[in-house]
Symmetry: C2
């Protein structure tokens, strides 16, 4: 009665936790509903814990069920990451995968890559452009990523800072705030700012070009770190936001990584850091 939980059980429980409906969850899993009911019951007996409050009309998570839902998601992520990393480790074409947003390297990527080649134990680096870089790290599809603090969730990652820069507001030139020398967060209170916390309003840009297009149209105001604005279109105004926390660009990789090649890449980031010195801590 003390043998470990199986991933199959966790997956089935998670499906129910997501749907809060055995029938739909079973359909999503491609199995019949009775099998699902019994698996969850067995899981509850095994744990000695009630995970779901069911009536014939509704299903709800107990507090223990909420805990398991979160933990199970992490655990399954770890299992899938194990499979992906193992497959990648056995590729006949050994390499590292570095995830980044297009244009999010502050122009430092070439310097990093050449520095990396010089490091011992380095491997060729393959760059993939992706929004959800943290997700790629956690599920084992990428070995390292260029991230931003405080925008990205760095928990569970090791990091090496690259550079820190203030946050800038990007505005159409005709905007009343565009002439200001500096702004405060409160000045943008009524603007359609991107990125925004909370529900999205209107179209969400998928990349920087789309975002700048929306800014030029006056539909949005963009908040980006200064190292992005260096290569900006000429027809937009940039104003620093003085009371916003500055943004740190950094290399992140999964904590507990034992890859020598990742360590080499991290050293390369340290070497490619502008001014050679240590950047401010995130």
């Amino acid at each position: 009665m003390d043998r470990p939980l199986e991933t199959r059980e966790l997956m089935q429980f998670l499906a129910v936790a997501d749907e809060l409906h055995f029938g739909r969850a079973a359909a999503r899993l491609g199995i019949a509903q009775p099998a699902l009911s019994r698996t969850v019951q067995k899981l509850e007996r095994r744990l000695g814990v009630v995970l779901l409050e069911r009536s014939s009309r509704a299903v709800a998570l107990t507090s223990a069920g909420q805990v398991l839902a979160g933990e199970a998601r992490r655990a399954l992520e770890a299992v899938n990451a194990a499979a992906r990393r193992t497959r990648r480790a056995s590729a006949d074409d050994p390499h590292l995968v570095l995830a980044m947003k297009a244009g999010g390297d502050a122009g430092l990527l070439p310097a990093i890559l050449t520095a990396c080649e010089r490091e011992p134990c380095s491997l060729p680096v393959r760059v993939v452009f992706q929004i959800d870089r943290v997700g790629l790290l956690h599920d084992g599809q990428a070995d390292a990523a260029l991230l931003y603090s405080p925008a990205d969730d760095l928990r569970g990652l090791d990091t090496e800072p690259l550079l820190t820069a203030p946050l800038m507001a990007v505005l159409p030139p005709a905007h009343p705030l565009a002439a200001r020398a500096s702004l405060r967060t409160a000045d943008l209170h009524n603007e359609n700012v991107h990125p925004r916390h909370g529900p999205a309003t209107g179209p969400e840009p998928g990349n920087l070009t789309e975002l700048l297009q929306l800014v030029a149209l006056g539909h949005k105001v963009a908040l980006v770190p200064r190292f992005v604005t260096n290569s900006l279109r000429e027809d937009l105004a940039c104003v620093p936001v003085t009371d916003a926390e500055p943004v740190t660009l950094l290399l992140g990789w999964p904590a507990h990584s034992t890859s020598l090649a990742v360590a080499a890449l991290a050293r390369a980031v340290g070497a490619a850091r502008p001014h050679g010195g240590a950047a401010a801590a995130p």
Copy 2:
């Protein structure tokens, strides 16, 4: 062919990876050897990766196998932690478990606990004394722990610093170095220092009292942060080690924790911090 790995498969593979011997691994798992052979083969076919190099006389891990061994250990730890945390979350006696070394709180624990009671969403705290506090956090047996940087491996944890103090060498009064006003790491080169990296020499003390006994006998020299020496026995000398990195005492908890009670405890640590200000970053 793309369904996730099962924990049973990972456990069996790990047993082989540990023993490098199918017979012994099978015995450890309480199953017969052929079943184990087949499970590992199936795992290899599923991943499309050779994990083990077997001859009829020896078994060795391939590099991919080494990767999977490490990843599988983490993944299984996460699965077991999920079960433990779920069981603990459903206890009819809700509480937090705080792991620490005896005497390792710098005398601040009472202040932390009273501050915690005042926080919203706090829970009663149960303290357990344990050496391997990081392990307890990772396998879900503890919710938070008092840790030391850089001694403990903080990867995968969130932390809240408590205080920072220099490292002190504890010596018997008759020791030739005991009269010095300060030491450097090199001065202790020939001493039997504790804690020591590398193989243990002689008896390893299990707690502070045992360690100090060995110091008094002249069998060891102890290196401890200054906040420990405040409550030291009178018959021992303490000398600061000037070129050693200072030690930060901090509260650590699993990254990705969503527990409001853990957050309350972290806020309490911030409130109980001496001088009220921010401690130096770890």
